[in-house]
């Protein structure tokens, strides 16, 4: 499925590569997936904005040749909301990690979903805070080890896609790095969706999560992703007991609702100017 004829360099700032990600990190696969989606949609690079917060995933903005903004921890969606409202003609994509999007940025995450503003959020979920040395995050599985859970994590995990769905996002999907071609498609559809889209991509951190959880090599991690993943279609036929510990991949929401900046134009600007 992944196209082979793409000139990746067209979308990369080669002068800033090699990147800072560790050998075996899954983030580079997601970066390439974004490139394939953007290339297929033929997005104008000058009119495309990539915003991030803080963490390993956030460093993607330095490598991609768009209008790029590396903000503060957890706040990428807030900055992106301002950009989109100010210039609705821009394509706005946000890259975030599990900690960035659902811990420190959790409030912005649910409210961006609620507004249905035309922004595409790609969550790089590697179950850990990699940049700071492997502390547990809101998606670290119960029982997993992290540098701040030396006795095993007891905090239940967030299900990012269910959170997005409940909060009102109009396109929600989950893929993983193991079957990255699926992510290409979801990211493409997320960008195409006129509204708030959340694409969670399960990725891996062999350096911190893997090392402490018997997934030492990148291949161990990819194998694990393959083993725990269940497609949404198959999951429908499985019992809750069978789904225990599994990660469901696929499209969870794909619906059409009026987008925020359009609604703003139609219901606020026009009303206000009619009164002048």
């Amino acid at each position: 499925m992944a196209r082979k004829d793409i000139d990746y360099s067209k979308y990369l700032r080669l002068e800033y590569i090699p990147h800072i990600w560790c050998p075996g990190c899954g983030h580079g696969s997601i970066m390439k997936s974004i490139i394939r989606a953007v290339d297929e949609l033929n997005l104008d690079k000058d009119k495309t904005v990539l915003v991030s917060g803080i963490g390993c995933s956030s460093r993607i903005v330095g490598y991609m040749d768009f209008n790029t903004l590396h903000t503060t921890h957890g706040r990428a969606l807030a900055f992106a909301t301002g950009i989109k409202l100010a210039r609705p003609e821009l394509n706005v994509i946000v890259a975030s990690g599990d900690g960035d999007a659902t811990a420190i940025g959790g409030n912005h995450f649910i409210h961006a979903c609620r507004r249905n503003i035309d922004i595409t959020l790609i969550v790089f979920n590697n179950f850990i805070y990699g940049m700071t040395g492997g502390q547990y995050s809101p998606t670290t599985p119960v029982g997993s080890y992290a540098s701040t859970s030396p006795y095993g994590n007891i905090d239940p995990s967030f299900n990012i896609c269910r959170l997005a769905e409940a909060a009102g996002a109009t396109y929600v999907a989950r893929a993983n790095v193991y079957s990255i071609a699926q992510a290409d498609n979801f990211i493409k559809k997320g960008i195409q969706n006129k509204g708030f889209s959340v694409i969670e991509v399960i990725t891996h951190c062999p350096t911190y999560y893997g090392r402490k959880n018997k997934l030492k090599t990148p291949a161990d991690n990819l194998r694990w992703q393959k083993e725990v993943s269940v497609s949404i279609h198959r999951a429908k036929k499985m019992t809750p007991e069978e789904l225990e510990g599994k990660i469901i991949t696929g499209e969870f929401v794909n619906k059409s609702e009026e987008e925020y900046t359009e609604k703003y134009e139609r219901l606020i600007i026009e009303k206000a100017q009619g009164k002048i």
């Binding site: 800033y16 503060t72 909301t81 301002g82 950009i83 100010a86 600007i269 009303k271 009164k275």
Partner: protein, 376 residues
């Protein structure tokens, strides 16, 4: 100056009208007393001018959205009060570091913590200067009168744009809620500055290349330049760097941008200072009580004057030094336990006795209190 209309409005409303005249077309805010009327008025006014208002989920998101809109080319503002100002500090530092024009209004109330939400205070003077971490550049303006607030908001936008730096406008519960007749003028009647940009932004790869005022020539997002903005130490290209020389130079630029241009930022008012033997230094709404005190004592023959810094930061060091050179005593009234007086002490180097008049009980400092301190 041609007056468009005269309105009987509060200081908070004057902020909104001043912002519109200044060209502000984006506001993001979160409800907090005693600043909420600014958000309310912006929500009503902005869409009439094709601008956007958004009430965000919290104070942090509000300043984040305002910075985002500014990066996309809109003159932007957010407004808050003490606790909200504390929450905004990290992103305020981002705007200082990334050099994004922005106006942040802080309608001060009592603190620390929840303090006294609808009582006046001048509690955030030092926070306005040093609230965010790191040696950052900042401009702080503290107007007194309601009409003055209208024009100082315009000046705040002009300084923010011209120097690509956040400007903090400090008012308080007194002048924020005080009503007065305000003459509103159009942008054609006032000086309006726009942010420096490269002549041709297409393909521009050095967003931190500086003009003669040391201000970066940065295009807006979407202009065709495809550059990078980060809160990390960065080079002229906007990309992170670990080069100690480049990092040190960036920090010097941030400092010098204010230091070398401070005469263009400083604004002060002098009242009966020429022959004064006693000098009152007061700002914001406290300055009104100081004006009355000076008036009363002058009628009794006391040689007292008032120096009123309208720009608090950069500190008018030369101005304070000169105006105090020949006085026997200085009186500094503030609705806090002594914040700006630290600057006065620093500048006068302990050579002149300073009498502090402070109050944090939620009541304004009266002219009588200042008169007493002058006579003491």
């Amino acid at each position: 100056m041609k007056v468009k209309e005269s309105k009987f409005i509060s200081g908070n409303e004057a902020v909104a009208y001043g912002a519109i005249t200044a060209g502000c077309r984006f506001f993001a805010g979160y409800p907090i007393s005693p600043s909420s009327e600014i958000a309310e008025n912006m929500s009503y006014l902005l869409p009439k001018y094709g601008g956007k208002f958004i009430q965000m989920e919290d104070e942090i998101a509000s300043i984040g959205a305002a910075i985002g809109a500014s990066i996309a080319g809109k003159k932007s503002m957010t407004a808050t009060s003490g606790p909200g100002f504390s929450l905004k500090q990290e992103n305020l530092g981002f705007a200082c570091m990334a050099e994004i024009p922005l106006v942040v209004v802080d309608v001060m109330r009592g603190g620390p913590s929840t303090g006294a939400p609808t009582s006046p205070a001048q509690a955030d003077i030092l926070q306005s200067r040093w609230g965010t971490h790191g040696d950052h550049p900042i401009i702080v303006i503290a107007p007194t009168m309601v009409q003055e607030i209208f024009f100082e908001v315009i000046r705040a936008f002009n300084l923010a744009e011209r120097f690509r730096n956040p400007v903090v406008l400090l008012i308080d519960e007194i002048n924020g809620h005080m009503r007065a007749k305000v003459d509103i003028v159009d942008e054609s009647e006032v000086e309006i500055w726009h942010r420096p940009k490269p002549e041709n932004p297409v393909g521009w790869k050095t967003p931190y290349k500086r003009n003669e005022e040391l201000v970066p020539l940065m295009p807006d997002f979407g202009d065709g330049a495809r550059f990078n903005i980060t809160g990390l130490d960065h080079s002229e290209t906007g990309f992170p760097t670990g080069d100690p020389k480049v990092r040190q130079q960036l920090h010097y630029y941030l400092r010098d941008k204010i230091e070398k241009n401070k005469d263009k930022m400083i604004k002060s008012e002098y009242l009966n200072t020429e022959d004064a033997e006693i000098m009152v230094i007061a700002y914001g709404s406290t300055a009104r009580s100081a004006m009355r005190a000076v008036e009363v004592l002058r009628s009794e023959g006391v040689k007292v004057g008032l120096f009123r810094p309208i720009t608090l930061y950069p500190v008018p060091e030369k101005e304070i030094f000169e105006v105090c050179e020949n006085v026997k005593k200085i009186v500094v009234p503030e609705m806090n336990l002594g914040q700006y007086v630290l600057e006065v002490e620093r500048i006068t180097k302990g050579k002149i006795p300073i009498s502090k008049v402070n109050r944090t009980d939620g009541e304004p400092i009266t002219p009588e209190q200042i008169i007493e301190a002058i006579k003491d």
